[in-house]
């Protein structure tokens, strides 16, 4: 597999292509570590994977136009709406084993736009997986 420089990624939120308004994306998927250690001669701990917490954090440019970042995200946050989230590493290539798409239904539990004088208006938004299917990579 070749290395890659990210610039063709596709970010879709609630069926809307926000790729051009996003500059970073990061999945977090973590199983709780449950300690099931018993007495043993070596003193080693034993763990099992517990419940799973998943989210995706996207850094967006602040944009307040029609069907742009704020118009998409704020109603989702305000109304506690579950929405679809998709991330495709390369928008110019079909979904497949070498270009898997991350998909899931998420909620925007916190929303914190802001601005700093003289700087690009950006803020991070965390999409938290909100149903049993979670966030998963698909190859079809």
């Amino acid at each position: 597999m070749p290395k890659r420089v990210s610039f063709k990624d596709k970010i879709t939120v609630d069926a809307t292509d926000l790729s051009n308004f996003a500059r970073s994306v990061e999945l977090s998927s973590e199983h709780e570590r449950v300690d099931v250690s018993g007495f043993n001669p070596t003193g080693s701990n034993e763990y099992l994977a517990g419940t799973t917490e998943q989210s995706v954090t996207v850094e967006f440019y602040g944009a307040y136009g029609v069907a742009e970042v704020h118009a998409i995200l704020y109603p989702l946050h305000k109304n506690r709406t579950t929405c679809s989230f998709k991330w495709l590493p390369d928008s110019t290539v079909a979904i497949g084993p070498t270009n898997p798409e991350l998909r899931g239904n998420c909620q925007v539990l916190s929303y914190s736009p802001g601005s700093t004088r003289g700087e690009a208006d950006t803020y991070e938004v965390q999409f938290t997986a909100s149903d049993a299917a979670g966030l998963a990579f698909f190859t079809t």
Partner: protein, 48 residues
């Protein structure tokens, strides 16, 4: 629900369709309402 025809009205597109494109779909009622309210789509022949 039944299929309706929509026109994409925003630069950010909708469900893989680009601005100006017409498409036929059976959208989830809440998704349809959100998309129309924020200006992503309008129903063809429907109210503006």
């Amino acid at each position: 629900m039944s299929k309706k025809t929509y026109v994409v009205t925003a630069e950010t597109g909708f469900d893989g369709h680009e601005k100006g494109e017409e498409f036929e779909a059976e959208l989830d009622e809440e998704l349809e309402q959100r998309a129309i309210e924020r200006g992503s789509i309008k129903e063809k022949g429907g109210k503006k």
